[in-house]
Symmetry: C2
Subunit: 193 residues, 2 copies
């Protein structure tokens, strides 16, 4: 049994699960092998909807197969599009979004997320995020460009207005400096404490 602090992915699910409810809308900005898409699809239930993006056909196929096996295809819109075009395909406000940066596990390690498109997607997600809604970003640093992407993201979130956004950075201080970390962003409720 893995502990609740074991990985950034486990922690991201813990945070998202606190806010995402049946009937909600959510985005998986990096479908990859479909683990997060499946997690979101379960949480939003049959009345909810998940938009899942990935530029790689392999990722879309794997995610579709995973959803099919779980019988949860009905509530997921799979999009083989760059997540920087998110607003073209997500017309509604969302309650949660998940990013899992870097390359597709088991796929071509040269195809990685890039800071410019990652930040463009994140900005669009923040625009359509409901009050109380939450975004998780798992950042890997082991691959080429990973450290740089992590730094640009940290710089971006450090500049988010603390009156509007609660932002956390969650690291594992007793692991390698290249170990992945998690960023969580929650939109404050206006008039809330």
């Amino acid at each position: 049994m893995s502990g609740i602090l074991a990985t950034p992915v486990i922690l991201s699910h813990l945070l998202i699960a606190q806010v995402l409810q049946e009937g909600d809308l959510a985005v998986d900005a990096t479908a990859g092998n479909g683990h997060d898409t499946l997690f979101l699809a379960r949480k939003v239930g049959p009345r909810g909807k998940v938009y899942a993006f990935d530029i790689q056909e392999e990722a879309i196929l794997k995610t579709r197969e995973r959803l099919r096996q779980a019988g949860l295809e009905d509530r997921v819109v799979l999009l083989q599009k760059g997540h920087e075009r998110l607003r073209e395909y997500v017309p509604e406000r969302i309650k949660a979004a998940m990013f899992n940066l870097g390359y597709l596990p088991g796929g071509d390690h040269k195809i990685v997320t890039r800071p410019s498109t990652t930040l463009a997607a994140l900005e669009q997600v923040l625009e359509i995020l409901e009050e109380g809604g939450l975004v998780s970003i798992v950042v890997y640093r082991g691959h080429e460009g990973g450290t740089e992407e992590g730094k640009e993201l940290c710089s971006f979130v450090a500049n988010l207005d603390h009156k509007k956004w609660d932002v956390v950075k969650i690291e594992h201080p007793n692991r390698s400096l290249e170990s992945p970390f998690l960023i969580g962003i929650q939109k404050k409720v206006a008039g809330g404490s």
Copy 2:
């Protein structure tokens, strides 16, 4: 309504609530105004037990009154003792422990937790922590000595064996460098993944 990422205290309760169950034993290493003691007392239920430490009589009285109002005095052992003497008073294994460092809110700001006794208490807590058990430490940096205490703690947890301990440091990157942060430590289950 505060968000789940709003403060280190809210996050500490979220983490502790994942592992602490009815009938468990827990420690509040810094009873203070009694908020964490009350939280732990509710979680462990009538069959559980909470040991709460504070060197200040004012803190013990406030905590006792808070427990009395909630009708939860029965399961709490209040100890006006330094938490560095924890092992003298806690003979059993525990599932969770909470630290809230710095001074007593509303009390004498010159009476603060100190790195040497904080680390002594933390070491003793880790010795008696059950597998899967969790420790939260909210670290304040605004007062004199606070920054130093935070650094010593970070250095200590960075050296915990990653094969035995999952450790997280949770910061708010869009706030002041003096804003409080949270450390979470979970003891891995032997033979677990």
